[in-house]
Symmetry: D3
Subunit: 131 residues, 6 copies
């Protein structure tokens, strides 16, 4: 099951390969979080849709309307869409293992794919099991 | 190769986790059926596009403009998007094995993914081999 | 400025012209509300984006996860997408004239267009001044 | 005839109404420029598609990968999507009147609509004749 | 009310302005036909949705899977998206006036807009009353 | 990381299974090329976005505004979307192994998926490692 939300952020990208994106700029990032498990739960779902959408909103809230260059945890890190897809994956996975998607979901959600769409012609994804 | 169609249905969902969706409501469900095989056939395709689209229409027809709560086969079953993606997968797979996609396709189509889009921010998928 | 939200509803449509849609079924309706005015306000906007999105959510809330046939105000009325686009327009317009979009907006928002998308191949709109 | 391109920018928005968007952030802005005229030209087009797309790219280039707060012409101006739609309209209109869309187009293009999409749930537009 | 369908065609475009599109090539054209009228009919609709979709399919059928250069009525005519939007408008308008959308619709449908989408970055439209 | 571009082509498809598509026609093909690798590079990306988009444009350029039936390499071959997805995959893979995505990328890009969208209801994909 996939839920989608979006956030607005600014950043710079360090390295000649980024050309004009080395300058301060920003993007609308549309997040798609796909939760997977072997069998549906007793309600017939992967997990509670509302809880899943709220969790995605919770996890991206620290990035929304922010200059990512100013966040201490990203010091010296290029906050590319590829990197952010992985970072959002890690944060969602940690919260899932803590039970944020409800009783039982901490062990039953088996895998998660996070896709970040940054423009009509570019997006990035990170897909991994939730260990 | 993927073909897409859609249908309109009503249902209730039983369980406190569904909140307001416990009430009778409905959704437009956009179906995407992806057919996969190891090698293309002698025409250079996975299968006949027209036959594939017709098969998807045939399989979802019993759900279109229906209250799914009234279908005998779904008695006591929450017809969530996750469940319906699996159900449509099973029905498509059965028809493929019966040869509905043309001579030879009953053994050559190896896998099928069914995605059901229910709103701009929520969709579900079921992906499995066709045994 | 346009904001978008969506809701899920069930209904029947009375009249032979509706064919299978005479049966109880439902749809995901994506609402796009376009607010227009002659000049931008002192902040450089048509109106407060957050207030506009909240207003659309407020106005469609009575329809979300509902069987529209059961709403007293729609008794004997076909709740087609065309009708609902007009109905949502009237309700938004009334709230705008009451000042729901903030001080001054009750007289400065000049026109409103409401579009309702019901499937990938069908949508309806109602566009009128806010008298 | 409409052509579309996009750009990435950062900015702040001044005014309590903007809430968290008062902080430095950014957006992907998808531009749609619609050119209208009374009759098609001798080639059967509104104008040269390639020239139109290049003109849109030329006009938005000064904003791409930029912090709009640093552009002298926007000092003290909230660069909202509504404002930018108007600004891009004025710049495109000036270039059209200079003949940027080819011989004859400087008088034959009658109207222009610029739409700026900033997220899946918000966009702004400016529609006016080219005087 | 708008209905959408699509067709696949090939053609050449004559004139240096078209550059590589002077060569034989093709496009997927997505048609959106918007029907407008002053008041909804007694069923609460602009017109019968099924009849409208069927009418669009009927009108574009002569162009589907065709090389438009070979159609006698287009001899010496550049079949640009702008031209085709107008042509489809004229053909739909004629059929509406003949009553193709059902009793009464021949005089009650007041205006029609035809949009043709040819790529993610280019589309054309023709909007006119139905005299 | 995925980048997207599109091209316009004409062709015929040989075989009764293709019905009207046996006639000369064409399509707009939207290409999505997804590049995958085990770990991000030292800049925090899969590969240089600009280089990736330019590479996709380079690889599809020989097909753009062409009748594919006239290309010598496709003689006797049905240029279906399935076939073309594989063909574009092979051409991109060859160029990646030649280092077209920059120093080191010739060994670090591990897999590539090419999706070709031919209409709102049909698309094809080819997904394979880059050996």
């Amino acid at each position: 099951m996939t839920v989608s939300h979006h956030f607005l952020m600014a950043h710079t990208l360090a390295g000649a390969v980024f050309g004009p994106a080395q300058r301060l700029h920003g993007a609308t990032l549309v997040v798609e979080a796909e939760f997977r498990r072997a069998k549906l739960d007793e309600n017939g779902v992967i997990c509670d849709f509302t809880a899943a959408l709220e969790l995605v909103k919770e996890v991206v809230a620290p990035f929304d309307c922010r200059n990512l260059d100013e966040l201490p945890e990203f010091r010296g890190q290029n906050t590319t869409s590829e990197f952010l897809a992985g970072e959002i994956h890690h944060r969602l996975a940690r919260r899932i293992r803590e039970g944020a998607l409800g009783p039982g979901s901490e062990t039953s959600i088996a895998a998660l794919k996070v896709t970040l769409r940054e423009s009509p012609v570019a997006w990035a994804a990170y897909d991994a099991p939730i260990a």
